[in-house]
Each structure stands twice: as structure tokens, then as C-alpha cells.
Symmetry: C2
């Protein structure tokens, strides 16, 4: 046995050793039977999808970049794939759209082990399948730098049933789904070396590694015309509130005492000497929905809540005419929302 053949046996196969055609074959082998409306799927110059009558199409693209959005030292490849798909599903959810199909654009470092490539696919395709969203095509290329998972997702929504950031009116109530800050706490736990932290499927680390896009909630809010505006919290509540206020040409006052921050997340921030409220509103990766509801339509929201399968919807503030986003503290002080307007660029 020569030294070079020992090398081949000892090292795991990489994406560069497999080549593009073999990688595409690995993707196709993992795809379920495509639906009828996918006329041409992966393998041609482009995918062909049949339009859905009397529906609008909603499209989004979001990249998950190694070294910017995730660190391979503590984010397993399957979680990187899961997160990239969930980021895009969350954008569809924020528009009230039903997921239809996705395209993948993968930038792969030569030395990426084939096993990691397969695990990334498991994360991507598992999350897509959970939302009945077939992968209709994509592109694979070498990366001379980081691993990049770029996803484009398309959904549909009926006319006058979509949600944008711009529809809020003064006096509307502001709600948020689930809890906030857990993803940031989870990221900090992972960074601090928490292999055990990641093992708890309901803990903060899992909220960071395997976020759950609020697709069903977005659909319910749009179909029942319960919300006047909606945004997802990919960049955190402070940023989301500012974006929604700006798009609606209004201001928002958030009630700090009402913010849904789970006990483990609160304890984590306190143990690090951080103000839990300031840390939670500035933390990204929550993928919850922030939305506004006309006080006259509170009944519709109760109907949504009944169908939301236990997902909490918490009233946290109110839209107001004066521009700017403020935070009312428990002692009655009103301060500017923490976190700079130019949120961390990523």
C-alpha cells in the first residue's frame, strides 16, 4: 500500500473529489416525488412551475454564510441547512404566503467532507419537506472561501390576503409570537462550548440551531385578515419594530414588562451581567412574527390563536402617530429602543 493510497483511505471523501454531477445526483436521490405542478425540476437550465390561478406569487432569497451567519465549529451541517431553509420560510410566513417551491444555490469549499454535504441536504430538504415545499432546481459552485447556502423560496397568497410591513395604523395593537431572545442566548451558549446545551430540543440552543418558521401563523393572519402589518424577527425585535414603524410611517411603543422572554433565556443573560430586556430585543435569529392588529379585529385574532397549535401570541405594544420606537420600562420610564438603527450588518 503506497502513502498516497493510505491518504485516500484515511481521509473522508470531499465534495471536490466527488464533482458537480455526483453532487447533483446526491440531491436528486434525496428529493421526494415532485408534485404535478412542477413541470420540469432539477436537471435542466431552469425549473418550470405551473402558475396557480387567482393567487399572487411571493418570492424571497436569503443566504446563510459561514463566518457571518454560522460557525461550523458549533453549528452542525444539518443545522446550517435547516437554518438556511427556515430563514426563507420565515420571510414567506411574514407575507402570509403558503410555501410552494425552493431553489438552492450552494457554494462549497473544496475540502467540505461529503458527509457534511449530505447532512446540509438533510437539514435543507427536511425543513422543506415539513412544509410540503419541493426543491425545484438550483446551482452548485466551488467556493474559494466560506460555505454559503443561498436559498430562494416562492410561495403563493390570494389577492388582498397578503401581509406587508406597511399596513399598520395608529392605535393598532402590536403582537409578537412565541418568545424572543432565546436564539441569541442559544448562540452564546453554543459559543461558550455548550454541546450539552444543544441537546435540549426545547432549550435556547435549539432555538438558535433549528428555528421553527411561523408559516402556519402567517397564513392564518393573512387569510383571516387579522393583521394589518407583519414582519419576521430575523434581525431581532428592535430592528423589526423599527422596520415596521418606518414602512408604516408611524411609531411604536413597546411595553418591556410584556415582552415574552423565557426563564432560561432570562437567567442566561442575567448570569452574564446583561440586561435581559435589552439583550432579548437586540438579539437576532428569533424568526418569530411581529404583527399589528386593529383593536376592532381582536376577535379575529382570538380565532387565529385557537388554530395556532399552542403558539403564544403576546400583546407587547401599540402603534402611535409620533415616529420612533420606544421602550416603556417597568418603572414607567420611556427610552429609545436599544440597538442602533444600522443593525449589525450580516
Amino acid at each position: 500500500m503506497t502513502a498516497s493510497s493510505e491518504l485516500v483511505i484515511g481521509d473522508p471523501p470531499t465534495v471536490a473529489s466527488a464533482g458537480e454531477h455526483a453532487l447533483i445526483a446526491r440531491i436528486r436521490a434525496r428529493l421526494p416525488q415532485p408534485p404535478d405542478w412542477l413541470i420540469a425540476g432539477p436537471g435542466d437550465d431552469a425549473a418550470i412551475v405551473a402558475p396557480v390561478r387567482n393567487e399572487l406569487q411571493v418570492v424571497t432569497t436569503d443566504a446563510c454564510v459561514e463566518g457571518v451567519h454560522f460557525d461550523r465549529r458549533f453549528v452542525p451541517p444539518s443545522a446550517a441547512g435547516h437554518r438556511a431553509m427556515a430563514m426563507n420560510l420565515s420571510d414567506l410566513a411574514a407575507m402570509g404566503a403558503e410555501p410552494r417551491y425552493a431553489l438552492l444555490s450552494l457554494l462549497l469549499p473544496d475540502a467540505l467532507p461529503l458527509g457534511d454535504f449530505d447532512a446540509i441536504l438533510d437539514g435543507l430538504l427536511g425543513e422543506a419537506a415539513r412544509h410540503q415545499m419541493p426543491v425545484a432546481g438550483g446551482n452548485i459552485t466551488r467556493s474559494p472561501g466560506p460555505l454559503v447556502i443561498d436559498v430562494t423560496a416562492a410561495g403563493t397568497v390570494r389577492p388582498r390576503r397578503f401581509l406587508t410591513r406597511a399596513g399598520a395604523r395608529a392605535g393598532d395593537l402590536v403582537f409578537v409570537s412565541g418568545t424572543i431572545g432565546a436564539a441569541r442566548a442559544g448562540l452564546e451558549m453554543c459559543r461558550a462550548g455548550g454541546g450539552s446545551a444543544a441537546a435540549d430540543p426545547a432549550g435556547p440552543a435549539s432555538r438558535y440551531l433549528r428555528p421553527d418558521a411561523r408559516v402556519r401563523l402567517g397564513l392564518l393572519l393573512g387569510r383571516r385578515q387579522a393583521a394589518t402589518a407583519c414582519i419576521d424577527l430575523s434581525d431581532g425585535l428592535a430592528d423589526g419594530a423599527r422596520q415596521l414603524a418606518h414602512a408604516s410611517a408611524l411609531g411604536i411603543e413597546i411595553d418591556a414588562a410584556a415582552l415574552p422572554i423565557d426563564a432560561e433565556t432570562r437567567r442566561w443573560f442575567e448570569s452574564r451581567g446583561q440586561d435581559p430586556v435589552a439583550a432579548a430585543v437586540a438579539g437576532g435569529d428569533d424568526y418569530e412574527l411581529l404583527f399589528t392588529v386593529s383593536p376592532k379585529r381582536a376577535g379575529r385574532l382570538r380565532g387565529v390563536e385557537r388554530l395556532a397549535r399552542g403558539l403564544a401570541l403576546t400583546r407587547i405594544g401599540r402603534m402611535q402617530k409620533e415616529p420612533g420606537v420606544t421602550l416603556r420600562r417597568e418603572d414607567g420610564r420611556v427610552e429609545d429602543m436599544p440597538g442602533g438603527y444600522e443593525h449589525f450588518w450580516r
Copy 2:
């Protein structure tokens, strides 16, 4: 004046100094008035487009990566943007689709000068505008490595008027548009330090730097049902012929003497001691269309040619039952098509 303010004055502003919101504002400022069917464009969680009745939608994504697809030392930023958009338009062309809208996903190194960012936009948006294809949204993120311009393009096509790689039949004639090999020669000229080579708008360097996607030809071939199969030559004629043959479960014999290789390209390869035919068929980035035509429909192809605004359509071979792609040399020898099946992964 302090040293640090001199630094600010002396150094050009970078994308990192501008921040994400300013970069998005620069994109929006460059966008023309959106069409009516773009219900929500850049600025929300996703874009909303109105479906077109009785048409199929064709979608594609392709990334242009620094260090893999282009070298910033000799590819100006505007050409990088132009190429990224043209790559995707070419995929729509190969399906016979009419361009409708594009999404941008930009990965930007921190030190990228703002002037380069603007020039990339000029290339991207100029090429999109030339094909009446609005940019409906996208995403900007930091890159810790290369500059990446990832584009998703969507088009529409009427049912039974689309083109795939799979429709060719034995005996069909094989055609190629324009000329082949010029982009490879142009890339070699640029690498060899040809600032002057790039100045000739009709020369090989321009064919590499600013390719012209054959959108009109693809539309004509599909609408008139003139072609049975079609593929674009993004990875070169040898690769394209293999992909088309494989998808159609047939073989192809290409006539070397018929290959349209312009004189300047031929001379360049000869001056480098390369066989011009082997170099031209293996060279990527041509963005011409390779398509097949039933002999009974040659009349339809003449109609297409009249409307193709001077674009040459050259018959270069024939589909055959025996699998494999062969090249018939001028002396009658028949050899396997040069270029490995696993084309250079990029």
C-alpha cells in the same frame, strides 16, 4: 488635520462603512418605475408578483463567484454584474422563456469600495433593464471571503411552448447560435494582460466580459415550436452537447468543419499552440444556444432566422441513436468529443 481624518479622506468609502440600509437605498435609487404586476418590490420580507394567466413560470439561479467565475484583477465590477445577470438570462433563454423579474443575493467583502458596488449594480441593472426585467427584491450580506453575485431569475412561457434538454429525436439536426470559443479566447486575452483587448466591443474579450444572452432566439424557437430541445453553452459546447444527448437518451455527431469559430479566436488559439476546435468546444462562458430541429421543421427555423436580427444559426451536427458525443474531423476521422465528462467544476 489628524492622521485619522486623512485616512478617511484618502481612502474610498467601502460597503462596510456605508452599511446595509445605505446599500439597499443605493439599489432602490437605481431601479426604474416598477411594472403594475410587481405588487410589492424591494423593502419587504419578500416580493409579491402577480401571476400571468395561462403561462408557466420558469425559474433559475446562478452564482458568479470571485476567484471561480471571475478575477477582479481584469474583470471590471460592471462586467461582473453584467455577467451574473446574463448567465441567468441565458438559462431562461434556453427554456424559451420571457424574462419577468430577478432577485439579487449579494455577498460583499467589507473592503469592497462603494464605487465598485455601484458599478456592479450598473452591470446587473443595465442588463436586466435591457430585457425589461425588474429587480423585485433580494438580500445583501457580508462575505468573509470572495465577492459573490447570486441572481435568481423568473420568466414565463406558454404551455407547450417551452424548451428542455430532453426533447431531441434521432435524426434531428443540431444547430448553434453565434460563434463559439470567443469567450474562452477573450478570458485568455484578459489574463495575458489585454487592457486593449477589452476595448474592442466586438472582440473576444468583450464576449467574455459582457456576454449577450440569446433571449430573443430562445423565445422564437419556443413560440414557433421550431426546436425539439435546447441548452445554453454556459459550460461550453462539449459539455452542452453531452448534457443534451444524455437528457434526450441519444448521441450526437458534431461536424468540426462546420463549427462557427471567428477568425480572431482561431488565430488566438493557434498562436498559443492550441487546436482551435478542441479549445473552442471545451471553452465555457459562450452563452450561445445549442438546439435541435426536426428536418421536417427546417422551414420554421428559416422563419426564426429572419427574426433573429442577424444572429447566425449554424447547423453543426445530427442526433443519432448511438449514445455518446463524437466529433467528425475534416479528414473524416471520428473521435470522442474532447473535454472530460466531469467538466471543470465551477
